[in-house]
């Protein structure tokens, strides 16, 4: 097996250590992500997902355990943190809040500028990043950011991170608060980045429909620990696990569970609506 691009071993993190508010956010977490994978991190609020992803670009340094990103050891105090942050693009929840330049193009260019790239290269990257998220460079670069819709603003923010040309893209709740149309579009863009641009994608989500559509692999966390790591088929087939950790089920999975409870034999590994329809047809045509 080739070297995983993200290699986390025995990572623990305690907030406010030594105070009455001490809280163990991560407890001996081990996780490897291969290049080109698309992984969803799911879990109830407070399960440690957000602490975990902030380790990936060194916003939080490991207290114990190791985090190695593409060969860079984040636990080393002398690690080149800027180079790390270029390799791991982290998109926070509601990233549209962080736009600050008047014009779309300028905002996307902020990261590359900070890297000290020559103007031509900055321009090339802005062009590339904007087109990737589905914003026409010609049309949009001189638009004022405040006049955009919520979905467009989010794309601009995503382009701003992509302009760093990271190898790993980390997203926290990428579609929260978007309407169905913008959500669908954004999911398609992320899928494209993963499948066509070969970006490794790690995303946190509460929306199980989204996890079902996008992820190759699902990492389930609870109380700072990993409780399950497998394909969506394995996770959504495990009704017990989802109930126990208060993880919502996609609607179609719920229907399949109900059918199974009624005594129908159902392939436990189907989870998409189309598959659910197939399963029902199988029952009816039997």
């Amino acid at each position: 097996m080739t070297q995983p691009i993200v290699d986390i071993r025995n990572l623990s993190h305690i907030y406010m250590q030594g105070t009455p508010l001490e809280h163990r956010a991560l407890d001996d977490v081990t996780l490897q992500v291969a290049e080109g994978e698309c992984m969803a991190v799911i879990g109830h609020t407070g399960s440690g997902k957000s602490t975990l992803i902030q380790h990936l670009n060194g916003l939080i340094r490991p207290q114990s355990g190791t985090v190695i990103i593409n060969g860079l050891d984040v636990s080393q105090p002398k690690v080149d943190i800027k180079s790390l942050r270029r390799q791991v693009g982290l998109v926070f929840q509601n990233p549209e809040d962080q736009l600050f330049e008047k014009l779309v193009g300028d905002d996307v260019a902020y990261g590359p500028f900070k890297m000290g790239l020559p103007l031509e290269e900055v321009r090339r990257r802005v062009h590339w990043a904007m087109e990737l998220v589905g914003l026409s460079f010609q049309e949009m670069k001189d638009r004022p950011t405040f006049a955009l819709s919520g979905g467009q603003k989010r794309k601009v923010a995503l382009a701003g991170v992509l302009a760093l040309q990271p190898k790993v893209l980390v997203l926290d709740e990428p579609t929260a608060g978007l309407d169905p149309l913008s959500r669908k579009e954004l999911l398609e863009r992320i899928r494209h980045l993963n499948r066509e641009e070969n970006l490794t994608v790690i995303f946190v989500s509460h929306n199980m429909e989204e996890v079902a559509q996008l992820a190759d692999r699902v990492y389930v966390m609870a109380n700072g620990k990993a409780v399950c790591d497998g394909s969506p088929r394995q996770i959504f087939g495990n009704e017990e696990l989802l109930r126990q950790h208060h993880i919502g089920t996609p609607e179609s999975v719920d229907i399949l569970y109900r059918l199974r409870t009624e005594g129908y034999s159902i392939n436990p590994e189907s989870y998409l609506p189309e598959e659910a329809a197939c399963e029902i047809l199988k029952i009816l045509k039997r």
Binding site: M16, R61, P77, R85, F100
Partner: protein, 278 residues
């Protein structure tokens, strides 16, 4: 190092810490009045012993309100640069303006006297006292109690058309949103750092550059604040709030013995502070 962006811990104002102590249970009107008396005494008192006494009293207040002292100390940390700058300015220039006291050092217009040293030390102590006192006040009093207390104390000003209610509400909301914005700012710093921003790593004398470095945080923070304010106005209107309209009050306070004791004690403490001649 891992605490690089941990802001929410360093802000004490507006963080109510319910421990149920006697200080918590004081009638907010009386508590606030006692606070005002003590602050005035601190402002006037310029003796060493008086201020040391005041600091001891503040520490004692932490004790009886069952609030860990480190809450007060963490409130001082952000003020240290101001205290130092103020101290330097006072040390350099005050001696030249004010006469009196023994002269320890003189060079050109710079004159360090026993009086200027006293001013430096007393100012630093005052800072600590004010921060300790206001920490105890805000940690032991919910902001609603605070504003209610303030509203009642300012009540007489309504007669001269001062909008006491609106003023009190503005203060409550401002305080209510301090933790929210601290969290927002933390997130914003992390988000921009993820895009390659760096804060506070440039040389300190390049003030323009360092100020510019803050734009990517300050501007979005303003935008978010405006959006929040707009939402909040709608939510308040939906709950029948009309500026200037009559309102009733949920909280009703009845002064008890302990409240009068608090006032008497604060007067006594002030008297001691001001009475000490050194």
């Amino acid at each position: 190092m891992s605490a690089e962006f941990e802001l929410t811990r360093n802000i004490t104002i507006g963080q109510y810490l319910p421990t149920g102590s006697i200080i918590h249970r004081l009638d907010p009107r009386f508590k606030l009045a006692a606070f005002v008396i003590l602050i005035l005494a601190i402002a006037v008192c310029n003796t060493y012993i008086g201020n040391i006494f005041a600091i001891i009293m503040c520490v004692w207040l932490f004790q009886i309100s069952k609030i860990p002292i480190h809450y007060g100390i963490s409130g001082i940390n952000p003020a240290i640069p101001f205290i130092i700058i103020l101290a330097i300015l006072q040390l350099l220039f005050y001696g030249g303006i004010a006469n009196g006291g023994a002269v320890y050092f003189e060079y050109g217009f710079i004159k360090i006297t026993s009086e200027s040293i006293r001013l430096v030390l007393v100012s630093a102590m005052r800072f600590v006292e004010v921060i300790f006192l206001s920490s105890v006040l805000t940690l032991s009093t919910s902001t609603t109690e605070l504003t209610h207390g303030m509203e009642r104390l300012l009540g007489p000003l309504e007669k001269i058309k001062f909008p006491v209610h609106a003023f009190a509400l503005i203060i409550t909301i401002a305080i209510r949103f301090v933790p929210t914005f601290a969290m927002e700012m933390e997130k914003m710093m992390k988000a921009q750092a993820s895009r390659g921003a760096d804060f506070g790593t440039g040389e300190w004398w390049r003030i323009v550059q360092r100020t510019k470095d803050m734009f990517p945080i300050i501007i979005p923070l303003f935008n978010v604040a405006l959006a929040r304010a707009e939402d909040l106005i709608l939510a308040m209107e939906a709950r029948c709030y009309i500026p200037g309209a009559a309102r009733t009050r949920f909280a009703h306070y009845k002064a008890a013995g302990k409240d009068y004791v608090a006032i008497v004690l604060s007067v006594v403490i002030s008297a001691v502070m001001l009475g000490i001649p050194w």
